[in-house]
Every structure is written in C-alpha cells, then in structure tokens.
C-alpha cells in the first residue's frame, strides 16, 4: 500500500507541472526564460515542440518485447511478449498484450536446515521442484487489455549535435494471470488463473517514422492462492520491459 501512496504522490507531482508552467503567464513584468517559448510571438504558429517527427493517430503499434521481473523473493520471470495497440488519438491508444513467462529460482530464495538428522545443516539455493507449488509468484502467462496515454512528446539534444525524439506514456488495464499455485492434494502445483490489474510508465525513442525503441516499467497486482489453502495473498510484481515497436502503416501525414 505504501508503494501505491508513493505512486499517487509521483503522479501528483507531474500533474502539477503544467499548472506551474501556466501560472507564469499571469505574471507581470519580465517573461521568465522557461516561459518564453510559451508566450513568444511565434507561439500561435509553431507547435510547442517543432519538427514533430512522429505521429501515432490512426496507426497500429506492434510491439515484440522481452521483460524481466524484479524484486523477486522466490521466482525470477524471464518473459517474451507481444502487444498490439491502436492509437485512436495522438495521445491515447488501446491495446492487447500477451506475455509468456519462464520462471526460474530467484537469487534471493534460500532453503535452510537446522536439523542434523534431516541432512546437512545450513542454507542453500532451493531447486525448482522444492519451490513448485509451495512458493508464490510462479507466473506462466499474462494477457490483458490496457489503455495507453502519452501526454509527453519531446526531444533531447545529445552533445548539441544530434537529437533524440521520444514520448513518455502511462498505461493501465486489466490482466488475466496464469500461475502455478499450491495443489489441493498438497503435492506439486496446479495451474490457476486469476484477474489482476497493471499500471506502468514507458518511454519510446523514435528511430525512424515507423520504428521505435521502447522501455517500460510495469506493476502487476493480482491475488494468488497460497499455502495453507484456501488462503490468498495480494501480490505485487514489477517488470522491466524492453522492446521494439513497429507502427503500421509505416507512413503518416503530419496532420
């Protein structure tokens, strides 16, 4: 819950930025340096960030990606996925995503034995079989629908010699999560499916008029069955995703 409060705080901070920027127009006297673009004589004719290299409105975005789960206590998930998004507006799109996960034993996981009669005393990394069905977080599949809102479009000057066009977006939606949970028999695991929600932020760096490099940080929240059954646990899983996006059609008009 603390993480959620912090997320709200961060969103609040960013949301307040345009308010700060807008209020400066009301100031009398000198125009501040950062406000000159906003109130200058060319403002009506020139968009805030000129040379808009990339338009998304009316285009599909096909995104193959690879992602990695972070902050894992028991299972680290390596994931391959694909997403298809339709950008109905320049700043808003809706899409579907599908991700297949390969869980492995996380580095932080350990199993310890303090009973000399039960084997060597000490701690070691557990095997996949030891964790299967006993430890939470063994996600196999994620699929879902989500909305994407990209209010920020900008460009960076790199060493004052080249320019990087990018946009930053927020996303949120519902997800179906398939995972290996505890079996009712108490032996091994059984596959369960549950509904969750995910939210995240991402950044696209435009390589040309149809191809982008995409990085995303995503937080998936879902409820999972845990031992002893029928107990459940609300789990939070963070993913870092890296991929490409191909925009279809590959050409677009400026307006």
């Amino acid at each position: 819950m603390r993480a959620h409060r912090w997320a709200v705080l961060s969103v609040g901070l960013f949301s307040s930025l345009p308010v700060f920027a807008q209020s400066s127009e009301d100031e009398a006297g000198d125009v501040a340096e950062v406000d000159k673009d906003r109130v200058g004589p060319l403002r009506e004719r020139i968009p805030p960030v000129s040379g808009h290299l990339f338009r998304k409105k009316g285009r599909f975005e096909l995104s193959p990606s690879a992602s990695l789960s972070i902050k894992d206590a028991f299972f680290t998930k390596y994931m391959l996925g694909v997403a298809l998004t339709y950008h109905a507006w320049e700043t808003f799109g809706i899409g579907a995503h599908f991700t297949y996960a390969f869980p492995v034993v996380a580095g932080a996981a350990q199993v310890c034995n303090s009973d000399p009669t039960a084997g060597p005393v000490g701690c070691r990394s557990p095997t996949m079989t030891e964790l299967d069905g006993r430890a939470p977080g063994q996600i196999n599949l994620i699929g879902g629908l989500e909305g994407q809102w990209a209010p920020l479009y900008g460009k960076f000057s790199l060493f004052a010699e080249s320019f990087i066009h990018f946009d930053i977006y927020a996303l949120g939606g519902v997800a179906l999560v398939r995972y290996a949970g505890p079996a009712a028999s108490g032996l091994g695991s059984s596959t369960d499916t549950t509904v969750g929600g995910n939210a995240g932020v991402g950044m696209r760096v435009f390589l040309n008029r149809w191809l982008t490099l995409r990085a995303e940080l995503r937080d998936l929240v879902y409820r999972e069955n845990v031992l002893p059954l029928p107990a459940t646990q609300l789990r939070q899983q963070i993913f870092f995703e890296l991929g490409f996006s191909m925009f279809i059609p590959s050409v677009f008009t400026d307006q």
Binding site: R2, A21, I46, P48, A73, F74, G154, F156
Partner: protein, 282 residues
C-alpha cells in the same frame, strides 16, 4: 571499485567538454561555413546598389537580347536562412554558477523482502551548465517506527523454507556526487512546454546501519540516473534512480556482504538565484 574508476573516467572525459561550453550559446544547427556565407550576403546587401551596377557594355547589350533566365531555385543555404526555428532551440534556462536545493522522497525497488523509504535533501552547485557537485543526505526512518518494512514473502520464506534472512538496516546516508547532464531538451505536455535535462551521477559517502555502532560507518559509492522537468526558471521536478553500494555485516551473522540499495525517488528542485543566467546572454 572498477565501477567508480569507470565513472570517474567518463566524467573526466566529458567534464572537460562540459566546462568548455560557452554560456548562453545554446544550439545552432547552421554550421560555421554557412554562417560566413550568410554574413557575406548581408554585407553585399549593405553596399550601394549603384556600385554594384556595371557600366553598360557591348556584352551587356548582347545579354539584353537573350531570353530572360528562369527564376533561381531555393538552395540549401536559403532554406537554412529561412528556417529561424531550430529543432531544439538555444538553452533558455542555464544552471551554471547556480545552487540547487532538492528535497525528495524515495523507495527501494530491488529488495525482495524488506521495503525501505527515505526522505532526502540534496544541495548542488553547478560548475558548468552540465556539471555539478552535490551533497545528499537521506533519512530512512521518517516513515513509521522502523527503518525497513517486511512483506508477506518474509513470512512465507521463514515458515515454509526455514530461510534465515540476514538483512541490512540502513538508517541514514550522506553522499557526495558529481552530476553530469549531457542531455537537454524540451517536451510538450497539455499544449505547454517543459524543458528537461537528464543526468548521470556518481560519488561516494557513508551509510549508517543498525550495526554501525559496533563497526563504524560503512563506506559507500553512488551511481545513478535522473531527469529534471523544468517548470519555471527556479523550479523543477526531478526523478532519479540511484544505486548505493556498501558493505555491511547485518545483525545475526559474522559475515559481511555487499549491499545494493536501489532507490527510485521524486522531488522538486529550487534553483538559486531564482533568475536563469540565460537572459544575460541575450
């Protein structure tokens, strides 16, 4: 230690370039040759037209009889001259020789068992527009009663796997950093403009943990990235991801272990003096 060396080398290599940057020049996409050509054209325009007009001669008389030449096409030089709007225009806010005071909050994102939250205060001074020295103090006991907060997986690990989780409990840290911001740009948001820069930081300092009373402060190194969204001459919002590495001997064990405390933070930056020095260059 190799990471510190690499970071120091990178900062040295690019720091010179940062220091060499002239205040207020910003960006100009037209190269020098084209600027010279432009100056010559302007000089020609200033000369009296009479001087430029040649004496009538036989050659000109012949030329008069020839059909008129087609109108000149717009060459690259003319296009550049017409293009008064550069892709990323000159920097309108400058940070050189200004102070930055930045309070922020942050949370750990890499510890699977124990979450940490911190309140930070950072002060920086910009030696050049892209290079700053900064000091940061972080207090991890501001939220709740403790310094770390266990999640449900701690219970599962101890109950089902008899795990013995030895964890470091950082209480506060103070770090000195060099910040280098090679990326400068602007973004459009809600039909407003924000100027942004992105920076890398690296430095060293000390971390106080719960076992520091017996062992003393733990030396630490910082490595991180961040972005600043400038709303006004004196105000920015910044986000940063900083990894602090230190060696600690947690309670309950005699073994020391390298700890990586990766914190994602957000806060505001206030620049002093309030006015950007960019206006003086105009």
């Amino acid at each position: 230690m190799t990471r510190i060396s690499a970071a120091a080398l990178v900062l040295l290599l690019f720091g010179g370039r940062a220091l060499a940057q002239k205040e207020g020049l910003g960006l100009d996409l037209t190269d020098d040759a084209k600027k010279d050509e432009q100056k010559k054209d302007e000089q020609k325009k200033d000369e009296p037209q009479e001087a430029a007009k040649p004496e009538p001669s036989k050659a000109s008389a012949v030329a008069d009889k020839q059909p008129p030449a087609p109108p000149p096409t717009l060459g690259e030089r003319e296009i550049i001259q017409e293009d008064r709007v550069k892709s990323v225009q000159r920097k309108v806010y400058l940070k050189k020789h200004r102070f930055e005071l930045a309070p922020s909050v942050s949370t750990s994102i890499n510890d699977p068992y124990y979450s940490k939250y911190a309140v930070n205060i950072r002060g920086g001074f910009y030696l050049a527009d892209t290079l700053a020295v900064a000091a940061r103090f972080s207090w991890l006991g501001a939220f709740g009663t403790g310094y770390v907060y266990p999640n449900d997986d701690v219970r599962t690990a101890k109950r089902d796997f008899q795990s013995r989780i030895f964890y470091s409990v950082p209480q506060w840290m103070t770090m000195g950093d060099l910040e280098w911001s090679p990326l400068y740009g602007k973004v459009a948001i809600f039909n407003s403009i924000l100027h942004i820069d992105a920076y890398l930081l690296g430095g060293a300092g000390v971390v106080q943990t719960e076992t520091s009373a017996q062992r003393g402060l733990n030396p630490a190194v910082d490595l991180g990235i961040g972005m600043r969204f400038v709303a006004k001459d004196y105000l920015a919002v910044n986000v940063a991801l900083i990894n602090t590495t230190y060696v600690d001997q947690p309670a309950g064990t005699t073994k020391g272990a390298t700890q990586n405390l990766m914190m994602l933070g957000a806060g505001i930056s206030v620049f002093l003096p309030f006015r950007s020095t960019g206006r003086e260059a105009e």
